[in-house]
Each structure stands twice: as C-alpha cells, then as structure tokens.
C-alpha cells in the first residue's frame, strides 16, 4: 500500500499552459497568502506595543518591536502551561503508541474469537463525537480523584480507537510467512512482537506518534472540562484565559498564541512526512 503512495514523476511534464491554469495558480497563491496570514498576524502582533495593537490604522509590520508581551506572558506562568502541555502530549503519545501497536497487531494478525466484533465496535465509536462523553467522563474523573490532574486528559485520549485502527492498517502489510517462520524458529509471542513486528511497523508508529502529539496539543475542549487549576492549565487554556481576562491586550494574547502554536508547527514541519502518511493510511480502505 505504501508503495503505491509514492508519486510517479509525471511523464508528461510538458503539459500545455492554458489560461485556466495560469489563473488557477494565481488564485492558489493568493489563497496561500491568506492561509499564512493568520500566523503572520499572530507573530507580528506579539511584538507590537500596547498603542499600536489598538491603533485605528493597523501596522502591517511592527514599527517599534518590543518584547514586553513576552515578558508579561512568562510572568503568568506560561512556562508552566507549556510544561503541562508537553507532559500531556508526551504521555498520551507514549501510551497510545504502546497500546495501539499491540492492539492493531492483534486485530490484523491474531485470529482470536470476537475480533471482528471488537473491530466493528472500534470503528463505530470513532464516528461518534468525542465531546459527547465529556459529561460522564468528568464525573468519572472526579470519582477516580483524577479531575484537575493531567491524567484526566491523557487517559480518555489513549482510549480513543483511532490508534488501534491505524496500526491495524500498518500491521496488515506484514507477510504471514514471516510470523510462521518465527514460530518454527521457536520464537515466543513477546519475542516475535518485539523483534519482528515492531521493526516492520515502525513507520506506522512514527505516524501515529506525531499524529497523537499534535492532536493532544490542540485538544482544547477536553482540557477545558478537565483542568481548571492555574497550575494544571495547558497553553491553549492559558491563551483562552488571557483573552477572557484582558480582551483588548491583543499583543499579549498574540504572544500567547505564538508560544502555543509555533512549537507545534515546528514539530509538524519536521515530521510532516510521517504525519501525512498517518492521515492517508487512516483513510485507505476506511
């Protein structure tokens, strides 16, 4: 499946240049500028002083760039928010990768009773809105004394079936003969999994890891419900709080938005290839 995904160098690269194409590309470039603009506005805004953010004539580029916004941002415990966010994303990623690679392998390759039923339930659950379960989940977390701890956000996300589904798609590419050979060689289940399966589904784990990390970073609704102590806030919650408290201090809010988005954008750009594969694999024969 991965093999067919690579792009063939177009044999007919000398296609005619039609007016339609020229206009389309121009529109495409304009739209791209529009899509990049929000990020540009966040970053430039974060360096503007208090006067220029509320000036009647907006500055396209900060005429007098200042770092004040970042100073006051880090006085709110923005570093703490970042730390919490990274912790949540890291733990979600780790737990999801471990449980999903095991589960995905089992569904793809183990012929245990009830596997089709379990898989069907996983698929159906995926189509339901995650937020719907937040009400009982909040009660459950309070009962488990986990409300207002990062675990309240981590555990439900690990349970989300997308990971198992994705890893099943990757595990299906493993040839049965390899498993057979391992069994004849006398390798136990654990060894087979660690030494044969894991290396083969590594690209899948990479895709899932980066996908989970980015999704957890931006999972605002879950965080909003589960975390409300200043010390457990995440960066998304922090930005929302800044906006609620200081609605026109746009410079400071933009500094928050920059701190909340630039790190994850960098992560995305570095691992873009894996990420794209993760999204695409999820869709193949969905």
């Amino acid at each position: 499946m991965q093999k067919t995904m690579q792009k063939k160098p177009s044999a007919k690269g000398v296609e005619k240049v039609t007016p339609y194409k020229v206009i389309s590309v121009i529109i495409l470039l304009l739209l791209s500028a529009f899509f990049i603009f929000t990020l540009y506005w966040i970053i430039t805004g974060s360096f503007k002083d208090r006067q220029s953010v509320i000036a009647a004539k907006p500055e396209w580029f900060p005429s007098n760039p200042v770092l004040d916004n970042y100073h006051s941002l880090f006085e709110k415990p923005a570093l703490r928010w970042l730390y919490n966010t990274v912790l949540i994303c890291g733990a979600t990623m780790l737990l999801t990768c471990v449980s999903a690679s095991m589960g995905g392998y089992a569904i793809a390759k183990k012929k245990f009773a009830g596997r089709n039923l379990i898989f069907t339930i996983f698929i159906c659950a995926m189509a339901l809105p995650k937020q719907v379960i937040l009400i009982p989940l909040l009660k459950q977390m309070s009962f488990l004394k986990l409300h207002n701890t990062i675990w309240a956000v981590i555990l439900p996300n690990v349970g989300w079936p997308f990971g198992v589904f994705l890893m099943k798609q990757f595990s299906e590419n493993i040839p049965d003969e390899m498993l057979e050979a391992a069994r004849i060689d006398g390798a136990g289940e654990t060894r087979t999994f660690l030494e044969i399966i894991l290396p083969m589904i590594k690209p899948g784990i990479g895709a899932l890891a980066i996908f989970t990390f980015i999704t957890a970073w931006n999972d605002y609704f879950m965080q909003l419900i589960m975390l409300n102590d200043t010390n457990t806030l995440t960066i998304s919650l922090g930005i929302a709080k800044l906006q609620a408290e200081l609605s026109t201090d746009f410079g400071l809010i933009m500094a928050g938005a920059a701190v909340g988005s630039v790190p994850i954008i960098i992560v995305f750009l570095i691992f873009q290839r894996y990420f794209t594969r993760g999204i695409t694999m999820g869709a193949v024969k969905g």
């Binding site: 990049i36 809105p129 719907v132 989940l137 605002y220 930005i239 794209t276």
Partner: protein
Amino acid sequence: MQISSKHSMRMARRRENISGYLFMAPSLLFFIGFVIFPMGMCLVTSFFNYTMMDFSFIGLKNYSEMFADSVFIKSLVNTIVIVVVSVPITCVFSLWVASLIYKMKDVYTSFFRCVFYLPVVTGSVAVTVVWKWIFNNYYGLLNYVAKNLGLISTNVNWIGNSNTALGCIIMILLTTSVGQPIVLYTSALSNVDKSLIEAAQVDGATNLQTFWYIKWPQIMYTTLYILIITTINSFQCFALIQLLTSGGPNYSTSTIMYYIYYNAFKLSRYGYGSAMGIFLAAIIAIFSALQFKVAKTDNG
C-alpha cells in the same frame, strides 16, 4: 492420529485466543474504561434529572424538553446551517486545490499541502484569538481594509451582529477544515491509474471527461471518507464558538455542541446535556450512514 490433530488444532486456537486478548488488553482497557463506559453512562444519565442537587429518574422528559426548548431548536438549525454550508465547500475546494497541486513537483506539492494544513496545526484557540482581533469592531484589520477598499462606510461589528456572526464562524471553520481533505485528495489523485488516463486521452477525451469517467470513480472512497470526517468536524465545532461569540449575540451562533457545554458545565444540568449529546450522536450516525449509502449506490 485424527484425534491428536484435532486436539492440537484446538490447542492452537486457544493459544491464539489467549495471545490475541493479551495483546488487545491495554487498548481494550482504555477503550472500555474511558470511551465505552462513559458512553453508556451518557445514555443512562439522559433519562435522569441530574443536577448538583438532584438525581432522579424522569424517563424521556429531557428529550421532550429538548424539542420544546427554542434555544435548542435555534442551535440545531445553526448546526445544520454550518454543516450544510461548510461540508460541500470544503470538499469541492479541497478537490480543486488537490487537482492543481498533485501534478506539481514534490517540493511544491508539499509546500501547498503544508500551507493549507497550517491552520489545523496552529490550533483552534490560537486561530480563533487572532481572528477575534481581525474582526474587532474598533481595532480590527478587516474593518480597516474593507473601509479602504470602499466596501463599507462605517465599522461593522462582525461578530457582535447576528447577521454576520455565523458567517464569520463558518469562514474560520473552513480555513481549519480543508487541510486534511487536501492531503487525502492529493494522495488519492496521484494513485489514480495513469495508464487509464493516457488511454482516455489517446481516445480524445477532454479533461472534464477524463476527470468524470476515470478519476472520480477511483477517488470515490476518499470522497466518502472526507465527507464523513468533515461532517463530524462541523457538527463538533466548539472552540471557535466558545471563544469567538459564546453563542451570542442572542443565540445566533449557538450550536448543539456549544449548548451542551453551556447546559452541562455552566448550568450543571448534566442529564439534559447528556440527552442532547445522545441526540447529536444519533444525528451524526444517521448522516454518516446516509453518506455511506449514497456513495455506495453512486459507485454502482
């Protein structure tokens, strides 16, 4: 001989069962504990009057209250408007972008893919706060630009006006939802069998004919998947609304998702919120099933 082979087969099957479930154990544990169990609880609490003070069985009263609640109806209508407007635009727009970029050089393809994915990665909170500034009545860029272009004569309160607020929300939602479909379509289009396209072109098919008869059937499954995920995303649109308008002015931008949040977490009406949640889940399930069915019959 036969007996022992039967015996060893049964042993093998049992081993397969045990190891299968052992490998499934961690994910099943999380899945049942934190997805299935709360889902069941959601259904149960939807039959209760469940608040801070009270927990008593009231049967279907939450559901009947729902349909008599004018704010709920308003939220339902808004949600449907958002879905009906944003899903087709997202799909057509992504297909258009993908069909332009998939033949480009790899560098350009991945550049455009990243650009259109950017708002998704930036995150709904960061995207929403910057748009809130751009839309601002007094200090926003939009009013400034629109005035200079002569489109408006006085400042418009874009998100404080019930005529424009929902439009603003749909616009932002669109920027955050085209990223994934573009990635999917780009990959699907580059997987279309090249020899078929060439054969069609040799036979003198126009671009439009090639697209309709050769490419479209082959990207049908991708389209279906995109329709379903975009529908689910549009139904769930929440951060945007909570941060931009809080459902106002006068509930003109309230959606079911927002209204659930408002009832359950602001008014502590957990039972009523759960009933709406169940209703929303049911609608999404029906929508997905319908799309699946339509796509299947289209495909022949």
